[in-house]
Symmetry: C2
Subunit: 416 residues, 2 copies
C-alpha cells in the first residue's frame, strides 16, 4: 500500500513560487519592523494545555490540536475525557505564548520590550477555501509601556510595512474597548449583557443599523435602551471630532483620558503618515478577543472590505502568569491573506539576481568535470546563481522549466 | 493560581541575542544555497501518522509527538491503544515530509529538483543539556538526479556555507552504504546480521579497532570472518587510493561503478574547494538511518570531533509514496549545534546599522509629539533604526539596556 502523499487535512505544502513571495514578505517584515526597533523572538509551537485553555483564546480554545501524553503519563484505563490524555497542545496564536515568554524572561529583557514574532499557529477549523489549519502569524507587541506611544508606533510600523510591500488605499479603524463599554453603560444595558450586545454590534458592516436594531430587540433588550444606544452611532461627525462628541455625550461613563488618548493617536498617525491610507475612529469596531482592555484597531483594504491586520491593548494577560499587571499592546498582520492577495495580483519578487544553469552530460568525469565545477564556483563568486544539473533525456522540458524559473543563461556541456 | 510561565518540558524560548544569530545563519543559508540553485519550500509540521510510522525513521519513530483525534473521530470507549487515539503527529525530520511533498507535486516541480528546507522538527527525547524536543533542521536535497553531480553539489554547497559563517578546519567523511555492505559480504557475514555489525562498527571512533574486535567476537561472530573484516580497515592508504585498494580486494562484491563514483566525488570536491577543510574516505562511516541506499557523508569539526552535518543518498523513499523509484540525495546541517557553537565563541553578527533611541516623556502630546515622531520617520528613511519609547522612571536602567542592545545615539525629549 502506498503511503498518503497529500498533506494532512486542512494543511498545505508550499510550492517554490509561493515560497519566494513568503520569503520576500518575511524579509520586508524584518527590515521595516527592525527599523522601528522591534526585536525578533520565538516561542515553541507546543504550549502547556493549561495556558491554552485559560479562557483567553475565545473560540480558538475549541480548535486546539492536543498532543497525547507519552510513556507512563498516558493511562488509557483511567482516562475519562480528552483532557486526561493530553498535557500540551499546538498554540492557536502568538499573543498568549508571548505573555508567558515575557513573564518568564522579564528580567533579561529591555523595558519597554518591543517584540517581533513570525511563526506558525494551528487551529482545527473546518477546512475551507483560503483558510488553513496551520498558518503563519506575524505580530509586533510592546510590553511594559502604558503610554499611547505604543499604539502610535504599532500603527506607524504596520502601515509603513503595508505601504512598502505595495498596498495602498487602506483604512485603519480605531476605537477603544472602554468607549465600547461606556456606550453600552450610558444606554442603560446591564454589564453582564455587554458581550452579547457587542456580538450583535459587530455585524453592523453586514446588516446595517436597521439589522442591528432588529436583532437587539429580538434578543429582548429594552426599546428605550436600544434607541439610546443606536443614536450614539448616528453622528455626522468624523475622526477626532466624533470622539470628542461621544465624550461630551457620555461624560462620566468614560474613564478620564480615554478620549484624549485616542484623539492623540489618530492625530499623530495622520501627522507622520506618508503612505496612501487613512485612519478613522469607528465606534462599531468590536474585535472579538476577550483579552482586550483598551485601544483596539484593525486595517481593512478599501477595495475588498476585508481586514488584513488587527490588534489592541491587553493589559491583563501577563498578570495571569506573574500576578503583576504589565501594560501590553500588539498588532498582528494577516500574513496568509497578504500572501494570497499578492499571489492573486500576480506579484513578482523584485530585483532577482543573474541566474545561469549548467547542464552536464552524465558521462563527463575527471578533469573535465572538475573544470566545469570550478567555473560554476567562479561565477557564484561573481554574484551569479549557478545551478549545475545532470542533462536530462527530455532536455526541452528541462530547459523550459529552468527558463520559467528565471535562468536566462543555459550552458550545455557535452562529452567530447 | 498563576499559569505556568516556563516553556513545556524540553522546549525553549529564544531570547533576542540568540535570535539575531539564528536570523543571521538563516539568511546566510538562503543566500549561499540560493547561489547553488536550491529553491526553498515548506511542508506542514503536522504529518500523517501512517507516514511517520512507516519504518523509515529508525529510533525517531519511538519519539513521535502524537496529536489527538478530534470530534467524532475520537472514541475513548473503543480505543485500546494510543494508535486508536491519533491520526497525525509532529514530524521528526524533514526528509520524510519532503519525499511525500515530491511525490504529491512532482509534475509541478523542475527535474532535477533542488530543495532547501528550514523548519522545526520534534522528538520526545529524554531532556538533556543542549538537546531540545523542538529544534530547527536545515536540509538541502536533490531529487530526480541519479548522477554523482548531486553529491558534489550538496557537499560543495554545505562546505561553502560553513566556510562563509566562519568555520574552518573541518573534515568531510564520505563512504557508501554499498561499500559497507560489500565489506561485510566479502568477510563472510550473513546479510541479516549486517545492521548489528554496523552498529558495532559505528563505535570505532570511541572504542578503537580492538574494542570493535572484542564486541564482534562477544556477539558470537566467526573469528575468521571478524579478522578478515577488520583487516579491510587496516589499510595504510588514504583518500581515493584507499577506495581503489578496497575495490581491488573485494572485486565482485562491490556493484560496478561504486568505487569510481566515490573517487570522482572526492576528487572533484578537492579540485573546487576554496575553504580550509578536507574530504576523506572513511570506511567506518555508518550513518544510522535505514533509508540510505548509496553514498553517505558527514562533516566533523576537527577541534571537537563532533558531527555538524550529515547526509546521503536515499533512492527508495519517494517510491513508498508513488510506486516509482526516484533518485534522491540530501545533506542536513546541525542548525542548533552550529548556533550553540557560535554562541559559545561569543559570535557577533557583523554589519549592524546605525541605531538611535528616542526617549519621550509621557506628558508630551500634540504638535510636539507629532514633530518628534516625524523626526523618527525621517531618520528611518535615512537608514537608521529608531526606537521610540516612553521615558521610564528608572532611566539609567533603560539607557543601559539600550546601549547593550547597540543603540549608540540616545536622545531624550522632555516636556518644556
Amino acid at each position: 500500500m502506498a503511503l498518503p502523499k497529500k498533506p494532512v487535512t486542512g494543511m498545505k505544502d508550499i510550492l517554490p513560487g509561493e515560497m519566494e513571495i513568503r520569503d520576500y514578505v518575511q524579509k520586508a517584515v524584518r527590515e521595516i519592523y527592525g527599523k522601528f526597533g522591534f526585536t525578533e523572538i520565538e516561542t515553541p509551537v507546543v504550549e502547556h494545555i493549561e495556558n491554552l485553555t485559560s479562557n483567553q483564546g475565545g473560540e480558538n480554545e475549541k480548535l486546539i490540536f492536543r498532543i497525547l501524553k507519552r510513556g507512563e503519563k498516558l493511562n488509557l484505563e483511567t482516562a475519562r475525557n480528552s483532557s486526561d490524555l493530553t498535557d500540551s497542545g499546538l498554540r492557536y496564536d502568538l499573543t498568549l505564548p508571548l505573555s508567558r515568554y515575557y513573564a518568564a524572561h522579564m528580567n533579561e529583557l529591555p523595558s519597554p520590550f518591543k517584540a517581533l514574532q513570525m511563526g506558525n499557529v494551528f487551529r482545527a477549523d473546518r477546512p475551507q477555501k483560503g483558510r488553513f489549519r496551520q498558518f503563519m502569524q506575524c505580530d509586533i507587541d510592546i510590553l511594559g509601556d502604558d503610554s499611547n506611544l505604543s499604539e502610535i508606533e504599532l500603527i506607524s510600523a504596520t502601515t509603513t510595512l503595508l505601504t512598502h510591500i505595495g498596498f495602498e488605499k487602506f483604512t485603519v479603524k480605531i476605537s477603544d474597548r472602554r468607549i465600547l463599554k461606556a456606550m453600552a453603560a450610558y444606554s442603560g444595558f446591564p454589564e453582564e449583557e455587554y458581550d452579547k450586545i457587542f456580538i450583535i454590534l459587530d455585524k453592523m458592516d453586514k446588516i446595517g443599523i436597521e439589522g442591528v436594531r432588529e436583532e437587539l430587540l429580538k434578543a429582548g433588550y429594552d426599546k428605550t435602551n436600544v434607541e439610546k444606544y443606536l443614536k450614539l452611532f448616528g453622528s455626522e461627525k468624523t475622526g477626532t471630532d466624533a470622539i470628542g462628541e461621544l465624550k461630551e455625550t457620555m461624560k462620566d461613563h468614560l474613564p478620564e483620558g480615554t478620549a484624549e488618548s485616542l484623539m492623540s493617536i489618530v492625530d499623530c498617525v495622520n501627522a507622520v503618515k506618508t503612505g496612501n491610507f487613512s485612519i478613522s475612529f469607528d465606534p462599531t469596531l468590536v474585535r472579538g478577543m476577550a483579552y482586550y482592555t483598551g485601544t483596539i484597531f484593525e486595517i481593512t483594504i478599501d477595495e475588498f472590505g476585508s481586514s488584513i491586520a488587527g490588534g489592541g491593548r491587553y493589559d491583563g494577560m501577563v498578570e495571569r502568569f506573574t500576578g503583576n499587571k504589565v501594560p501590553a499592546c500588539g498588532f498582528s498582520i494577516g500574513f496568509e491573506r497578504i500572501i494570497t492577495m499578492l499571489l492573486d495580483r500576480g506579484f513578482k519578487v523584485p530585483g532577482k539576481e543573474k541566474k545561469a544553469a549548467f547542464l552536464i552530460e552524465k558521462k563527463i568525469t575527471g578533469e573535465r568535470l572538475n573544470g566545469i565545477m570550478k567555473e560554476a564556483a567562479e561565477k557564484r563568486k561573481e554574484g551569479y546563481t549557478v545551478l549545475c544539473a545532470k542533462m536530462m533525456k527530455n532536455k526541452k522540458f528541462q530547459k523550459d522549466n529552468l527558463e520559467a524559473a528565471g535562468y536566462t543563461e543555459i550552458v550545455e556541456f557535452f562529452d567530447k
